[in-house]
Amino acid sequence: MTKMQFETSLRARLRGIPENEVNRYVEYYMEMINDRIDEGMGEDEAVAAVGHLDDIEARIRSERQQQFVNSAKPEGKKKLSSGAAAAIIIGCILFSPLIIGLLGIAIGLVFGVIGIAIGLFFAAVGIYIGALACVAAGFGIMFISIFSFSAGMPANGLFMLGGGFFLTGISILIVIALNRLAALIIRSIGRLFMRIDRRFARGGMV
C-alpha cells in the first residue's frame, strides 16, 4: 500500500469523527511513515510498519470512546464555603413561608399529575376490556345470524352478520390502537427516566 492509499483509507475509515481530529490522526501516522522512509525503508514497508488499518481504526475509536466516558464522569463534589452555607441557612429561614407555599403547590401538582395518570390508566383498561367484550359480542352476533338464515329470515340474518363484522372490526382496531399507544407511552416513560438519570449522573448528583 502506498502512502496516498493509506491516507485515503484511513480518512474513509474515520468517517464520523470531526475533521480536525481526523487531520491530527492522519498527520501523526503520515509523519511516522515519512520518518521510516527517510531512514531508508521502502514506502510499502513503511506503511505496513505503522500497523494494520483495522487495528489503527479500532484503537482510535476505542480511545475516543474512553475520552467520552472520562469526560462524562462526574467531578468531585465541591464544598461550600462557610459564608455561603450560612447565607443559604439564613435565606431558608427568612423565605420559609414562601418556600413552604411553593413546596405545597409543587406537591399538589405532582399528586394531581399522578391522579390524572392513574385515572387515564384505569380508563384505558376499561376501554380495552370493553373492546375485547365487543369483539366477543361481534363473533356472537355473527354466530346467531346463522340461526336467522336457517329460520328463513335472510334479511335479518344478513343485517346481523354485517353488524357482527362491523363491531368485531372496530373493536379489533381499538385494541390494536390501545396496544400501540401503551407501547409508545411505556417507551416514552423509559426514555424520560434514562434522560433524567443521565442528567443527574452528569451533574454529579448521584
Binding site: Y28, Y29, E31, D35, D55
Partner: protein, 110 residues
C-alpha cells in the same frame, strides 16, 4: 505485564525519552521499544494525554521539506519523573520484601 502498570510505565518512558532533548514520534518509539513494547497507535494517546496534562508541549518544525512535530518536556513532566524515582524506591522495597519471603519459604521447605 499488568495493563495498568504498563500504562503508567509507558507514560514515564515517553517522558524519559525527551528528558535531555526534544524528540519526535518515531524516535520516541525507537528509543523505548528495546525496553517496553510500544506501537504508533499506543504512543498517540499517550502523547495527547501528556500534552493535555501539561507535561509536554508540541511544536512543528520543518524537516526534509515537511513538518515534523517535536515534543518538549515541561517542568511538570520533569516533576512527574522525579516523583516516579521516589515511587520506584517504594516499589523496590516491596519487591525486596516479596522475594525475601519466597527465599525464606524455599529455605524452610528444604
Amino acid at each position: 505485564m499488568d495493563i495498568q502498570l504498563k500504562r503508567g510505565l509507558l507514560d514515564i518512558c515517553v517522558l524519559s525519552a525527551m528528558k535531555n532533548n526534544d524528540s519526535y514520534g518515531y524516535k520516541i518509539i525507537k528509543d523505548i521499544k528495546p525496553y517496553i513494547d510500544i506501537s504508533e497507535s499506543t504512543l498517540y494517546p499517550i502523547l495527547r494525554r501528556l500534552e493535555g496534562n501539561g507535561m509536554i508541549t508540541v511544536r512543528s518544525e520543518e524537516f526534509n521539506g515537511r513538518l515534523r512535530k517535536y515534543y518538549h518536556i515541561t517542568p511538570l513532566g520533569k516533576k512527574r519523573l522525579a516523583d516516579f524515582y521516589d515511587e520506584w524506591k517504594e516499589i523496590d522495597a516491596i519487591y525486596q520484601y516479596v522475594i525475601r519471603e519466597d527465599y525464606d519459604n524455599d529455605k524452610n521447605a528444604v
